[in-house]
Subunit: 641 residues, 2 copies
Amino acid sequence: MPFAEAISRDGTLAAGTPASLPALAAPELAADLARAGEEGFVLRTLPLAGRRTTVVAANRDVGVLYGVFALLRRLQTAQPIDALASVESPRVRLRVLDHWDNLNRTVERGYAGFSLWDWHKLPGYLDPRYTDYARANASLGVNGAVLTNVNANATSLTAEYLAKAAALAGVFRPYGIRVYLTARFSAPVEIGGLKTADPLDPAVGAWWRGKADEIYRAIPDFGGFLVKANSEGQPGPQDYGRSHADGANLLADAVAPHGGVVMWRAFVYSHETPQDRAKQAYEEFQPQDGRFRPNVLVQVKNGPIDFQPREPFHPLFGAMPKTPLMLELQVTQEYLGFATHLVFLGPLFEEALRADTHARGAGSLVSRVVDGTLDGHALSGMAGVANVGSDRNWCGSVFACANWYAFGRLAWNPGLDSRTVADEWTRMTFGNDEALVRPVVAMMLGSREAAVDYMTPLGLHHLMAEGHHYGPGPWVDSASRADWNSVYYHRADATGIGFDRSASGSNAVAQYFPALAEVYGDVRRVPEPLLLFFHHVPWDQRLASGRTLWEELVRHYYGGVEAVRGMQATWRGLEDRVDLERYAQVGAFLAIQEQEARWWRDACVLYFQTFSRRPIPPGLERPDHDLAYYRALRSRYVPGN
Amino acid sequence: MPFAEAISRDGTLAAGTPASLPALAAPELAADLARAGEEGFVLRTLPLAGRRTTVVAANRDVGVLYGVFALLRRLQTAQPIDALASVESPRVRLRVLDHWDNLNRTVERGYAGFSLWDWHKLPGYLDPRYTDYARANASLGVNGAVLTNVNANATSLTAEYLAKAAALAGVFRPYGIRVYLTARFSAPVEIGGLKTADPLDPAVGAWWRGKADEIYRAIPDFGGFLVKANSEGQPGPQDYGRSHADGANLLADAVAPHGGVVMWRAFVYSHETPQDRAKQAYEEFQPQDGRFRPNVLVQVKNGPIDFQPREPFHPLFGAMPKTPLMLELQVTQEYLGFATHLVFLGPLFEEALRADTHARGAGSLVSRVVDGTLDGHALSGMAGVANVGSDRNWCGSVFACANWYAFGRLAWNPGLDSRTVADEWTRMTFGNDEALVRPVVAMMLGSREAAVDYMTPLGLHHLMAEGHHYGPGPWVDSASRADWNSVYYHRADATGIGFDRSASGSNAVAQYFPALAEVYGDVRRVPEPLLLFFHHVPWDQRLASGRTLWEELVRHYYGGVEAVRGMQATWRGLEDRVDLERYAQVGAFLAIQEQEARWWRDACVLYFQTFSRRPIPPGLERPDHDLAYYRALRSRYVPGN
């Protein structure tokens, strides 16, 4: 492909900005460029300088980069490019990967080897994978990376480590990616030599301002801080009797002069056992709406518990109209089988984004809260807890990469549907052979429901083993906090199963807007996939299918395993259409998934049977072992823990 | 290349055993095959079936494999193959890599990422790298792998983990590699439910026999156990008042019926502070010579301290004629700059192997102790503490791979010289461009002495920072054991520096045979590179150069840094001859090495200057910082710790 500085013949591809390529200042492109905005791009087929030209135009270099990747995506997915006429720009401003990476290269909830960041060799050595990572992110539209774990280490804010972060920022910068760090709230004490980290203490404010100045000297385009405070043992403003807003504003004031933001997590729960953990974030944060600085985003997980296979959307969405709410999704599969389970998260992300909060009447989708359009916020963001690591395939498995892809694409455009995303990814990963694309996309789209079925069907949640979260642990009842126990969540007893969050129970439903609270609060109207999240239901209650709850529960657990077997059959049918290495790895992982799906099914059904006292319906295969066997299993050296 | 079942035309390459390829049963090959033995091979150019044939023949498949790799090596190093007439067989029977890999995938003293073994996904998933690892090892002649850390975890002996080890053994088997495990001496208590691990308790013996039977059911060609006992806090027979021989024989009896061996480490030191740590292994083990079962090897590090940049050879070599002594070398660069320092260990290994013990008069080389010829042992072995890990380049850096290579080649043939090894490796790694091979080989051959110079010249040893061993720490004086302190080893004071191990001191020299004890014990005759290992020498003592000890010490430290700068210059001259990625990585690492060499030099010279009270000679660059700066440095999150 010859390169040229000007358009001199038909069939030219012209990529650039009006400033870098004057032909792109043509009046025919002006309106499109105006719509493209800061990060967007224009793809057009049109005559320029009298020649038939394919244009990738943008107002800034990063837009050109995104546009080129969009063009490559069309090429790779075998779409026509002979009559391009599109303008695209991201609906969400901050599209960020959160790395829960520790300075010793372990990754909390990481299942793809270890951290990409080789802190020890930084800044002296810049691993080429840093560049590859940035390029991959840019191809998805991701424009930020929080380098460090939310369970933060003040060492990452020392001069020594800022030099290392600055080296990464230097690699990422050409790809439009800003670096963020997690701020340990007690850093002024731990590395600053102060006696307090009280956010209202002037010396503390001065320390953070000085630290921010130091960071921006090293990283002029530093994005800002992500903070987990007063949650799971992390320090925070409440240690000093101050509010979350006090804490967030302290840091916000430090980075504001430099254009930085603070992403303050709403994933909090107090040390006292709450009446209902699902209610706590709302109770702590909703009253503070309006008290945050303009450069603070409150970062809210998709659901009120913790990245479960299925939860309702978080009731904070729509409930804090004066505050930009950043959606936090988990790309790494902490509760979804780690890297060895093929679970495409597109449908989960889509379900969260399309949930209707009814905050301003019907159509008040979570996606519109997140992109800022519902409440008129210019600042908006989506965060994905990263699943990338040192593994050669980046994400621990071939199909886990689809989740990185899905996060990026949906952060760029929260209106995309997961079928489109799966189709794109499959074509770019395995080629355009329709006999492969069709079954693979179908398998991906069904995979999340399969995981829900073999793990936590019908609104069950938080049934995993303690600590490492590997495998089933519905019997867990001795954790140090009540709400770390499975029994706290499923509440199975002789009469039935489920957490009554209706008016007769914790009344968590009241945190939703009335139109929804009515539906969720009514056992006859609540969507069946959320049934046991909101209600304690008798074992013999008839569901829509006509089957009893017990029969339906068992049917879901068995159906989940059957769905995995279906994926195995699908994959076996593709042997001739996939290269040997990926074929073998996916096949081996599906076999592990089938084994672990049976583990989940058998452990949960046998355990819940001790309450229901009802049989496993005839015709279904018997569990491989008895309940005592499953309860006695102890997994050791589990990754990500 | 067409394949055929018989020799039917000129130019055929015939590879196989007489059993697999009857043409190789020809009488012309019989004598060579007899010499080749169990693992060896014959490379011959000769007429077979009337056709000009290149023969790779062996008695067993593994010999064919080794022979094919030998032929490939000749091809890759551009040696003629038109008149082959060689028979090769390994001089050492067990050629083993010791992996200090933990079950959570961290690697003790590992600087190449994390463990290759993904225990969590085993046995369900067999990473293709397991195969690549086995093939790479086979190409060097390595025939064993101890999968687990010598600081052992009894969990690795549970049924769950044996299934995982068996899966690895299945991958390695076709490459002639046997799997070994480390045995935690207290395993009968920890996983066996016994009240004691006393080696003389019959129930303990029965437990180990049962465990061995279980292992061999899972891994029929299991190699045996490697044991670190009663050293650095590990449990062992001395906990029960028994001897090392009692402990080793316990395990040896368990694996003997299956043909297994026990590799029992002599790297021990008692909890009581010894008079001289260098003497302790000899004192504990030498008297037990003759008390070990025939399937026990006592595994001895190359030197009496601990894998230092330079030590004299270990006095146990030659001193236990009734016991096969296995040489333990460290391939991973714990004390030699980790993965970022270019230090080719061939010369270090060669120095150890060629040391003359004088056990049976002159010529009683360590290599002849190790290969069993000096004392007539059929069982023999060499172990290398592995430097491979999850990094894409296997060993953390391009040049660190040369150390893996050197270990394998020297274990196959301890008589090889390191120049040959460096030349082979360079040609196979970078090609046969003489303008590259010559300077690279020269750089490699000088690199170990450079490291000695900038770290521990003139016989100094154990000056590194505490715990993680990253960077200099000559001032370390507060470790919990006397012999974990640097000051214990260098003994610098106002009069001079060095550890007096002559008759006037600890008399460690007396552990060597008289011819050598005399030389080492005499400050005028001891080789200068070992001067301060054996003697405390006045600062103003004149050395062979005519310079004082202080001047010479400083000269070595500065010379080490200059040598690294020389390597940088050499490498810069090769920019056009090396691919971009490796050129950049090696260049970045050399820059780190130069920086850290200066760190070592300045810290040590400034620190020793507080005793010598003598100036850094004029004309030399001044240290970058003062001593207080270096003493205040704290390295955190250091790999391998």
